[in-house]
Symmetry: D2
Subunit: 131 residues, 4 copies
């Protein structure tokens, strides 16, 4: 499991006084950074090789400004070219949102998916925790 | 079906040269505005009575800057307190993303869901198009 | 003068019940789109030739969700390689924010500013309204 | 001086391969959090008493994804009801953006500015470093 902790930003609140729903996919993308680092050496944008196939978020409770959040990120499925990343937002000991991203190893030049290379697969397996 | 058309914003692109994935839930929220208007007279924030239970987005193709997008929004399920909103992004005649939001009629003072009032239900039914 | 009209987005509000201050630079960037189109044929990102030197925003009144805004954009100074863009947000007949962006014609390959080409200069002059 | 360090987010890049200009005001708002904490006990949104009068940003160099940034925040002027906050983005030892925010102690119920209370003034003075 990867964990990322930070404080919600004031501009991430909305008029209902909580964190706006559209912010959670942003936080989840940030929580996937350690996975990006497994695929893309030094996060070099010119060598990017991942694309997102889908995202899902269940909003379980309101998330608030003024208290840190922890994003917990697990790899829960590992396929040939794609894999599932399950994530949740934890604030004050409570899971406030839970979601899943399906990511694909992608060749931007060929504009198509590509098998996950063996060394990366090995690294991902070390973090695999099926649901 | 509700449709909303606008131009992608430059700041919505990312370093891969396309619209970043986290933008699509923002656009879908904007596309649900006509539904917000059925629930909340004059979009008065002090009388807000909706909450989001979940969002799902499938990314089908890259979405680009420089061409308008149309957000198509349908009500595809109508329950007692909740309903499904199915949405898609169309650019240059192509569906680039498709998703679903589950929305709940919500009493923020009681902090719980509430049955959809009959007049709103009637209005929603006029837009219902089950998948 | 260029004008752009749209509705504020729900996610652009913050917990104070108004549009968050960080949204205004986003709207101003959107309001500069007609200027981008003078410099970059078809808004082709691979041929982008503008960079922002500075932005300034004065917040004059609160901007609200639920009513359209108009972004008014004027070119107020035209230099050799740079020019000033003065902009304001108008909502319900009231100027709620006013600002200025200094833009520079930029050669991204050489990583330096470049004189504004004559045909673009002529086009910009047609929109010039010094303060 | 207050300092805040974090990693740029992928979604904060734009198609030019750097951090989009509209992100800097967001980071500067985050960098002002320690100042918010001096005014608003526990960052309680229902007791918020600050408003932004203006922001200015000079973009000095490109800011990139993949390396942490530090936001440096100084109070550089302390008036009766308002004060100036000077801020800069530092990445890899280089100042990439510099700016100033004018903030006002504000009574949201009366909808007008209010003198900065003596205990807060004392706390702010401890951080005052005129330019």
């Amino acid at each position: 499991m990867f964990t990322t902790q930070f404080d919600p930003r004031f501009m991430e609140t909305d008029a209902l006084g909580h964190i706006n729903n559209t912010v959670i996919p942003v936080w989840f993308e940030e929580g996937r950074t350690p996975i990006f680092e497994l695929f893309v050496p030094q996060l070099d944008l010119s060598r990017w090789n991942l694309i997102l196939a889908s995202v899902h978020v269940d909003f379980l409770a309101q998330t608030y400004y003024g208290q840190p959040v922890t994003i917990e990120t697990r790899i829960t499925r590992l396929g040939g070219a794609s894999f599932d990343v399950s994530q949740q937002v934890v604030q004050d000991g409570k899971i406030t949102a839970r979601g899943k991203a399906v990511m694909v190893h992608f060749d931007y030049e060929a504009n198509q998916s590509a098998p996950i290379p063996a060394p990366i697969r090995t690294a991902l397996e070390a973090h695999l925790s099926p649901e």
